[in-house]
Amino acid sequence: MKPGSLLARHVAPVPTSRRWLVPMAWFILLLMLSAGMGQLEWLFRLVEPDVREVIYRRAGFFALLGQHVMVVGVASLLAVLLGVGGAIAVTRPAGRDFLPLVSQLASIGQTFPPVAVLALAVPALGFGTLPIVVALLLYGLLPIVRNTLAGIDGIDPDVHEAARGMGMTAGEVLRQVELPLAAPVIIAGIRTSVTVNIATAALGATVGASNLGDPIIAGIVNGNTAYIVQGALLIGLLAITVDSVFERLQPASQA
């Protein structure tokens, strides 16, 4: 038990409107910067005084942001469904045989660089958005699987025995006991997965998926630091926004 969690229950909850103030602030900053990057031309001039164009204009930042969010969103949604579902499956009696295999794969997979996943996905799936979605899905699966396994595994076996002994069905144990008790750990896994994938998605630009990675790649190719900063800034803001949303979603640990 975290020392603060006992107290946290009795402190009056922060009103919803105030609770979401921080993520809102980051989100608004993200939108403003996407819309008004052009206004900061003078600033980027300081970075790159010699190039002809200092603001990336091949595509609108809004569109790039939208595509970025889309790719990460789709990949993460699939990763959550597959990851949580898979981890649940291998912790059921019928799937127990696969538990060692899956938990080993999940920890080995973490050491595999995302670029390598992408390099393997392209020959199989061609250029475009699909390989990056697949790469993000595979890479994002790992923390989710690992944390879901840890969360379910971390439940006191006596709580589990009592649940069964009281006459709960397997489904009732899962929904009313295992998932709620594992939720903080599972959400932490999803949080890691999504935030890492927001950064990793930028690699998609190298395989022809257009997103916030485009300005970065273009900047590297053309030696234009201003482009790189613009892409990186928006990716960073997006990651911070999403992370601060998760921070507020995360319930206090029960165990």
């Binding site: 006992l6 009592a162 069964r164 002994g165 009281m166 006459g167 009732e172 006991v177 008790l181």
Partner: protein
């Protein structure tokens, strides 16, 4: 009524329970005692099918447990374990109401039942209903555990070392409360413990297990008098058996009416045990005590001679 006929359980090559036959009458409290690992918990868990037996038969009121749906079976059997197994993310009230909710009782009836049980177990509703298990002491948590097991008013209660993790004073209080509860509710209880004093204090029937088998069973006093072998004898306390038996007999059963003599200066309660009476005599170096009732009014006397002589009967 619970009956076990030649029940066996193996874990791999190890035989955990080896041909046990046992009959627990309705309303009886049967204590399973024995050293750790002798198969007590396994025996208990086979009754509600948390563990399936591989040989023999287990019957509830004449019906094999395998003939019931296992979930339905467990909902009609109360189950209490040492570590309580309370759900940490649920309040006390919600924990207690678990089985009635699983049985789809109407909300109002669940709430009434929960409050009734909290009162029965000495847990003031206003103070405890909204607490979480981690905010409870060990004794309070186990009271909640017992309340949860009783919630749907099962006929049968299985208790696996329910008071084993409590300090001696709390343990004795809860033993006492369980006895009073049992006097009112007449459940059929199988109670696992490795604490012989607890078993002697609570059991109508005592079952001594060793290495997966029953070595002896019967009324506690009968076992104290006639242990079948040195193992049972030492488990029952060896040389302390005299005191353990004396602990089972109330002063009231042995006292004589007040005689013409002066009242003895030291007093003992009517409901105290002979071992407590003996202790008072030893302490004050007297051989006669005045027996008093709940209001401390003298109602009889107990002499050392009477205390000792009675034992032979």
């Amino acid at each position: 009524m619970i009956e076990l006929f030649d029940v066996t359980k193996r874990f791999g090559s190890e035989v955990a329970v080896d041909g046990i036959s046992l009959r627990v009458e309705t309303g009886e409290l049967c204590a399973l005692v024995g050293t750790s690992g002798c198969g007590k918990s396994t025996t208990l868990s086979m009754i509600n099918r948390l563990i399936e037996h591989d040989g023999g038969e287990i019957h509830l009121d004449g019906q094999p447990v395998r003939s019931f749906d296992e979930v339905a079976l467990r909902r009609r059997i109360g189950y209490v374990i040492q570590s309580t197994g309370l759900f940490p993310h649920w309040t006390v009230a919600r924990n207690i109401g678990l089985v009635p909710r699983l049985l789809k009782w109407p909300k109002g009836r669940v709430r009434e039942r929960v409050e009734e049980l909290m009162q029965l177990l000495g847990l003031p509703v206003a103070e405890f209903a909204d607490k979480y298990p981690r905010q409870l002491s060990g004794g309070q948590a186990q009271r909640v555990g017992v309340a949860r097991a009783l919630a749907a008013d099962p006929d049968i209660l299985l208790m696996d070392e329910p008071f084993g993790a409590l300090d001696p004073i709390t343990r004795e209080t809860l033993q006492h409360e369980l006895r009073e509860l049992q006097a009112r509710l007449h459940k059929t209880i199988v109670f696992v413990t490795h604490d012989m004093d607890e078993a002697l204090a609570l059991a109508d029937r005592l079952v001594v297990m060793h290495q997966g088998r029953i070595v002896q069973q019967g009324k506690p006093i009968a076992l104290l008098h006639d242990p079948v072998n040195p193992f049972v004898e030492s488990l029952l306390g060896g040389m302390d058996r005299g005191l353990k038996e004396a602990a089972l007999i109330q002063v009231g059963e042995r006292m004589l009416p007040l005689g013409p003599r002066l009242l003895a200066s030291e007093r003992i309660a009517y409901g105290a045990s002979l071992s407590q009476a003996l202790s008072v005599m030893l302490w004050h170096q007297v051989d006669r005590l005045t027996v008093v009732d709940e209001e401390d009014i003298p109602i009889g006397e107990l002499s050392l001679r009477r205390l000792l002589g009675a034992k032979a009967s």
